[in-house]
Point group: C2
Chain length 281, copies 2
């Protein structure tokens, strides 16, 4: 993760994400664009807070060093100030401006000039949103693997799955990015056979979302935690997953298989299915 790059084969290219704020927008869209060229190897370097001439020259120096290394830099920028953008344009890198063109288009559409300040989207913004996210993360930690059934009624979403199917990173992502109160409910042998839903979540069936995976994947993940245990055996994983899916079908709990999905994809599917996604604000 260190930022110093080792000397690299000339086939490697350097990708820079230069921003006047956190760099998240530049990193996110820039990396999404690069993902369309799987044949090319890139080193990634994000340079945030480039909002004045001094920072701009420092960024250019770093970009030009990559050029001198033969890593033909690509520079994705979301910098707003024209003076800073001009300095970046003077680098040896190929600059791809992710903001200016769209901003001009928006000014036309909205019939008003854009605010002059550097990007504020990932700024403090609404203090309430900050506190909501903080509360959500603490709530997710408190309810991770359902250590406590208390306050389950406060949950906006309850992820239900056998142990190690991926509830934790998904609930943490939903808490952090969307400020959702997400609880986890781990299905255990104690929940089967049962007539109804586990008592703890029965009152909240409409807030439940199920997660499954493949027996092989589950066994592999569990083996990392408890090698050659009954818990990690393929037979036990197969049984738990079959029981979980049966439960989800019987009680019409929507569910998704996490084995081929990233945390972001899982979250997008859940938000879409549960209609919990307005947007970022």
């Amino acid at each position: 993760m260190r930022t110093e790059q080792p000397t690299l084969a000339p086939t490697m290219r350097a990708a820079f994400f230069v921003s006047d704020s956190t760099g998240i927008s530049a990193e996110t869209l820039g990396s999404a664009l690069l993902a369309n060229f799987p044949g090319v190897g890139f080193t990634h370097r994000t340079i945030p807070f480039v909002d004045d001439v001094t920072a701009a020259h420092a960024a250019v120096a770093e970009i030009d060093r990559a050029y001198a290394d033969g890593r033909h830099p690509l520079v994705f920028t979301t910098v707003k100030r024209a003076a800073v953008r001009e300095i970046l344009a003077g680098s040896r890198g190929a600059v791809i401006d992710l903001l200016a063109g769209h901003l001009a288009e928006l000014e036309g559409r909205l019939q008003q000039p854009a605010n002059e300040d550097p990007g504020q989207y990932h700024g403090m913004g609404d203090v309430e949103r900050y506190h909501a996210r903080m509360r959500a993360v603490e709530y997710a930690i408190e309810h991770d693997d359902g250590q406590t059934a208390r306050a389950l009624d406060a949950a906006q979403l309850i992820l239900v799955a056998p142990s190690r199917c991926g509830k934790t990173p998904t609930s943490m992502y939903l808490a952090l990015q969307y400020g959702l109160l997400v609880a986890n409910y781990p299905l255990t042998d104690d929940d089967f056979p049962a007539e109804g839903l586990p008592r703890a979540i029965a009152p909240f069936a409409e807030r439940c979302f199920g997660i499954t995976t493949t027996p092989a994947r589950l066994s592999q993940v569990r083996t990392q935690r408890r090698p050659s245990s009954h818990y990690a055996s393929l037979a036990q994983c197969t049984l738990e997953l079959r029981r979980a899916e049966d439960l989800f079908w019987r009680f019409r709990i929507p569910f998704v298989n996490s084995s081929t999905k990233s945390v972001e994809e899982m979250s997008a599917v859940i938000l879409q299915t549960m209609r919990l996604r307005g947007g970022q604000e």
Copy 2:
């Protein structure tokens, strides 16, 4: 957070983020662009997984309903397939394509065509990265408020601060987004007065990063947890923060004041200062 929008004053505009994958790139850059027009009110709606003609027509229907409501839709899209983009272009919304132009520019720069598949950046991608993030989130939970000093030596970063300064959401964000192993160390009265760094973190001083805030903010946050307690008193908060800053200065531990920063800004400052940020991959 529900997606159904109430009837809105005509001054409200509808912003749609339409993606062929998770919608995160469209949401992130689109929202960053809209943040430059603080005078305009927007409803936000993300429509992920629009990767075929059927999904495209469903999205257009929703966009046109917003138009019929008088909410003059803006449509930010990162959809790659031309057939799907053409259908979106037929909506009553003003479509702003965040991808196609840059993709064409990149094809020129890289002298090769872009991959035809829908965006894969937020896809499963590297299974190892998925497991790294999963491990990092579990590590962050395990080491939240330093319940355990065990495995502190595995930490790539240790956030040091008095209770309630914002260690938890920041460490969770760094774990989720960057797969970093982040531990928290809460400074308590037991750590003062002391000659050196607290014993638990003394061996890892170079991995420590401090967080402070303002006494007023800390008192306010603590009051939410323990109203009118000594713990939440302005005097106690002032004392703890002064001691913490003194400790950071004495042992050259970099630190930042979280009172005016978002989780994203905190993370960007920490990654930059500790040189832990390569990029997303």
